[in-house]
C-alpha cells in the first residue's frame, strides 16, 4: 500500500511542476493605458490600417470565408487583451521569412508586430523572434529574389497571415474600446 501511495505522489509532483501556470505576461506596460492609447492612436493604428489595406489588395479566392484547419487561431481573451496581442504579434513574426508571401507585405506585417511589442513593452517567449525586429528596422540591403505567388495553387501561409492580421486588428480595437472613456 505504501509504495502505491508514494507512486501517486511522485506522479503528481512532476505534473504540478509541468502544469504550473506560466501565465505571467512578459509585458511591462500593463497599467500605463494612457501611454499605450497615445502610441496606438498616433502611430501604430496607421500602420495597421495600411497593412489591412495591403491585405485586402492581395485577393486570394481560396482564403474567402474559409478557416484553414491547421492554422493556429488566437483569440482576444477577455481581461487578457495585452497577453493576446503579445501572442498574436509574436506569431505573426514567423511569417517574415516565408518566401512564398510577397516581400513588402510580410515586411509590413513584421513592422506591425514589432510595433505592437514595442508599444506594450512585450517580449516573445522565443527570443529569436525579436531578432526579426532589428532586421525589419534596418535598411533593406538584401537582394533576395521574391518568389511570386503561384496563381493557381492556394497559398495557405498567405491566408493564415491574413487571418492573423484581422485578429490582431480586432484585438487592438477591443483593447482601445476598453481603455477609452
Amino acid at each position: 500500500m505504501s509504495h502505491a501511495f508514494f507512486r501517486s505522489i511522485f506522479r503528481v509532483l512532476p505534473l504540478l511542476l509541468v502544469l504550473s501556470p506560466v501565465n505571467s505576461s512578459s509585458c511591462t506596460m500593463g497599467n500605463k493605458t494612457t501611454e499605450i492609447r497615445v502610441k496606438y492612436e498616433n502611430i501604430l493604428s496607421h500602420d495597421i490600417e495600411e497593412l489591412v489595406n495591403m491585405s485586402a489588395e492581395y485577393r486570394d479566392r481560396c482564403c474567402k470565408n474559409k478557416r484553414h484547419e491547421h492554422s493556429k487561431v488566437f483569440f482576444c481573451n477577455d481581461t487578457q487583451e495585452i497577453g493576446s496581442l503579445q501572442s498574436m504579434a509574436c506569431n505573426m513574426l514567423r511569417f517574415f521569412n516565408k518566401q512564398k508571401i510577397n516581400k513588402e507585405f510580410r515586411r509590413k506585417a513584421a513592422l506591425v508586430s514589432c510595433g505592437t511589442l514595442q508599444v506594450l513593452q512585450c517580449k516573445c517567449e522565443r527570443h529569436k523572434k525579436e531578432k526579426v525586429c532589428t532586421q525589419v528596422n534596418a535598411p533593406n540591403n538584401e537582394d533576395t529574389e521574391t518568389v511570386e505567388q503561384p496563381k493557381k495553387k492556394c497559398n495557405q501561409e498567405f491566408c493564415e497571415l491574413k487571418e492573423n492580421i484581422s485578429s490582431l486588428r480586432s484585438c487592438w480595437n477591443k483593447f482601445e474600446k476598453i481603455i477609452s472613456r
Binding site: Y40, E41, S45, E49, V52, N65, F75, C76, R169, S170, C171, N173, K174, E176, K177, S180, R181
Partner: protein
C-alpha cells in the same frame, strides 16, 4: 448596407422553388447594432417574402446554437430578428443561419462570418449648442448618447442661406470652430457620428442630428429648408436663436465696428494736430526742441562795418582751454583786408559757456 449575408439571396429564391418564384429578391441578411443597445438582423419585407423563416445564431467559441427569441414581423411574415444587449457579444465571430420552410420543404442557409463591433451604428448627436467667441468666431458643441465618446468621429454639415451647397467638415472631438462668420447670413448646422478606426472597422454613420441655427433670418423666409431627421427614441434637444435677439446683437456689433474703425482714428489725428500746433506756437517749448543756431555776427559788427564784411577768421587749434589775450605766445597782428589775400587775422575766442561765444579781436 448589405453585409455578409448577401450570398443568401439567390439560394433563398432557387432553393424554395414555387414559394418564392414570383417574389422579387430580398435584400439579404443585414445586421446592425443600434448604439450597442440592441441589434436587428433583417432579411426582407412582408411584401416580398412568403415563406416561413427561422433564424439561428451562435458565436465562434460559444455553443450551442440558439434560435432567435424575438422575431420581427411584417404582414404575418418573419422578416428579421431582434437581439437584446445580453445576447450581443462583440469581438467574437458571429454566425447566423436562416431556415426557410415552405410546403414542407426546409432549407438551411448559413451566413458569412460577422464581427459585431464592425456593425455598430451610434445614435445621432444631441444638445447642439452654439457659442459666440471673439473675433467673429462661432463654436459648436454637442454630446453623444453613445457611451464611449473617444471611439467616435464626427462630421459637421453646414451652410448659410446664401450658399447653394452644404459643406462637410470632419471633426475628432465634440467641438467645431467656425472661424469667420458673416452677421448678415443665416447658418444651419447638422452633426452625425461614426465609430472611428481605433475602436472598429465600420462605415455606418448615425442619422443626422436635429439642426441648430444661427444668424440673421430677417430677410430670408424659409430659404434654407433644412431636413429634419427623426430620432424617435430619445427626446430632442434644440437650441434656436430668435431673430430679434440676433438683430440686437448685430446692431451692437455694428456700433462697435464704427467706433473702432472710424471714430477713434479721427479723434487721434485731431489730437495730434492740436498738439503740433501748440508746440509750434509756444516759443519757449520750441526753442528747447529746436535750439537756435548761434549767430556771432553781432560781436563782429564793427569789423563788419569797417571792412565791408570782407574779412576772415581762423580758429586756433591748440587752444583747448579758455585763454586771455595776454597768454598768447606770439603777438597778434591784425588782418589786412582781403585785397592782399595772404594774411589772416588771428582771433582769440573765449568760450565762456557752451551756449555763448565771446570773441575779442586784437
Amino acid at each position: 448596407m448589405a453585409v455578409p449575408g448577401a450570398s443568401l439571396v439567390p439560394i433563398l429564391l432557387l432553393g424554395l422553388g414555387t414559394c418564392l418564384a414570383a417574389s422579387p429578391s430580398p435584400k439579404g441578411v443585414e445586421c446592425i447594432l443600434f448604439n450597442e443597445e440592441y441589434m436587428t438582423c433583417t432579411w426582407g419585407s412582408g411584401q416580398t417574402l412568403t415563406a416561413n423563416y427561422s433564424l439561428y445564431y451562435w458565436y465562434e467559441n460559444k455553443l450551442p446554437v440558439v434560435e432567435c427569441q424575438q422575431y420581427l414581423w411584417d404582414r404575418s411574415v418573419r422578416i428579421g430578428c431582434r437581439f437584446e444587449q445580453s445576447e450581443i457579444i462583440q469581438f467574437q465571430a458571429f454566425y447566423v443561419r436562416v431556415n426557410a420552410s415552405c410546403n414542407g420543404q426546409t432549407l438551411e442557409i448559413p451566413s458569412n462570418r460577422m464581427e459585431l463591433q464592425n456593425l455598430v451604428k451610434p445614435e445621432a448627436p444631441v444638445n447642439l449648442t452654439i457659442h459666440n467667441m471673439s473675433g467673429n468666431q462661432l463654436q459648436l458643441t454637442w454630446s453623444s448618447p453613445y457611451p464611449k465618446e473617444q471611439c467616435l468621429e464626427h462630421v459637421v454639415k453646414y451652410k448659410s442661406n446664401k450658399d447653394t451647397s452644404w459643406t462637410n467638415q470632419e471633426v475628432k472631438g465634440v467641438i467645431f470652430s467656425f472661424p469667420s462668420v458673416d452677421y448678415e447670413k443665416y447658418y444651419t448646422f447638422y452633426v452625425r457620428s461614426k465609430i472611428n478606426n481605433y475602436c472598429g472597422n465600420t462605415q455606418l454613420w448615425s442619422e443626422w442630428s436635429v439642426p441648430v441655427f444661427w444668424g440673421n433670418n430677417s430677410t430670408s423666409k424659409g430659404s434654407s429648408g433644412p431636413e429634419r431627421p427623426r430620432s424617435p427614441r430619445r427626446p430632442r434637444s434644440v437650441l434656436t436663436v430668435s431673430p430679434r435677439l440676433v438683430a440686437g446683437v448685430a446692431e451692437e456689433q455694428l456700433q462697435w465696428f464704427w467706433i473702432h474703425t472710424v471714430l477713434i482714428p479721427i479723434a487721434s489725428c485731431l489730437l495730434l494736430l492740436v498738439l503740433v500746433v501748440l508746440l509750434v506756437r509756444m516759443e519757449r517749448v520750441w526753442v528747447i526742441i529746436m535750439p537756435r543756431i548761434p549767430n556771432p555776427s553781432k560781436n563782429f559788427d564793427d569789423l563788419f562795418i569797417t571792412h565791408n564784411g570782407d574779412f576772415q577768421v581762423r580758429w586756433l587749434p591748440w587752444l583747448t582751454t579758455p585763454l586771455s589775450w595776454w597768454q598768447l605766445p606770439t603777438p597778434l597782428t591784425p588782418l589786412c583786408p582781403s585785397r592782399n589775400g595772404s594774411e589772416s587775422l588771428k582771433m582769440l575766442w573765449r568760450v565762456s559757456s557752451p551756449t555763448t561765444v565771446k570773441a575779442s579781436a586784437t
